[in-house]
């Protein structure tokens, strides 16, 4: 099953270090070059599903301006899911690049 782009970026944002909700939004924005701008409602819909599927889990809770802020981390299953999706996307990109190269060659020969 393929993964939606926002879900892929949320998981990718959690690679390396645990992050809190707003931190994930900022990281996704940066990773996607500003193309994927998650709303908080959408983010927590994705997080709820990922926690339910065991791909993400709670890391810790910290106090922030008098309120609790939760940090989330990726699980081993989440890591495997990102790896599989990244491999799928890379294979797609390689196939497209091969086809583009052959078209460029044909165009070059024609001209």
């Amino acid at each position: 099953m393929t993964m939606s782009e926002p879900t892929f970026f949320v998981l990718t944002a959690l690679l390396g270090e645990p992050r809190h909700g707003y931190g994930i939004v900022g990281e996704v924005d940066q990773l996607s070059g500003g193309r994927v701008q998650l709303k908080i409602g959408s983010l927590y819909g994705i997080l709820d599903r990922l926690v339910d599927e065991g791909l993400v889990e709670l890391d810790r809770e910290e106090a922030y301006q008098g309120r609790l802020r939760r940090y989330y981390r990726i699980t081993n299953a989440g890591l495997a899911a990102v790896r599989a999706e990244a491999a799928r996307q890379a294979a797609n990109a390689r196939a497209a690049a091969r086809r583009l190269r052959s078209i460029n060659l044909q165009l070059g020969e024609a001209s």
Binding site: G21, K39, I40, R67
Partner: protein
Amino acid sequence: MNAELERRYRRLLRLLPAGYRRAWEEDMVTAFLQSAEGRGITRPPLGERLSVIALAFRLRLAGQHEPPRGKAWHHAAYALALILLLYQAVIATVILVDLAGRALWRPMERPLSNVSEWSTVLYWLLWIAAYASLVLGWIVALRIAVITVVALFAGAVVVSGSHQPADLIALTLTSAWMLLILAVPNDARPRRIVWLGAYLGSALVLGPAALSAARPGSSGSLGVDLGLFWRLALLVGTVVALAIPTLRRSPGWLLAIAGVTVTLTGESLLSQHVAFHSLILGTSPAAMGVDLVLLSLGVACAIVGIVTLRRLPRTEPEPA
């Protein structure tokens, strides 16, 4: 300012199911307030409001984070979709077998000679695909099939320019399928053997009858009392639901069966002369007798279903 903004965010989050709010509200409010820092906003921006509304809509339709009573209503919608889709799939099979038979044996009638007839074939094939998708647990495929069916039907009504009340009622009923199908949970997994068996059994009884009715020289009638067939099938389903303890304790199944039996038989008994009933359900004395039995069993299912439903908690139990 911050307190007022927080109050507004919390009011917006009340759209979400209580179980979901318990798990996520505090963290969401922290994230909302952090995102508002330094931006001078006094109320939730439109984009954020829409994202919460979309999340609430999705969670409530899917029955996620619902209390047990809410989940039972979702289960009733799913069971109703399964029963009605089985009916649609069997009707579709009979119609398609009849069309195939006429195309084979009565080519002079030119049964598949224009686009409109091919779109009818597509329309009925999609009902079979929708049923197969639900039975196999392919919920996305089910939704695509039903949305396409509704779009095809709406397109046909618009193209025909018909403003007949019957067409508009049929269009409204067909559109109601969208809500029913959207309420089917994503993890719905019916018992394949039972539901595929029900479809194949019905198709094996009615398919050959439709094929023989399409043969040259036949009277064109099915030779099977379709009304009696549906009533007996429903009777078997109702008795099974009341006899098997796991089904008897499931308010979703009981309410779905009660909904189908009471609506069909009650309406049929009250309006014996309506053309729809004589065509689809038949009006033979045997059928009327079964109607009375079915109506009583349907009422029994409704009573047991409502009693079981009322025993379920209205709110999600507190985590230990």
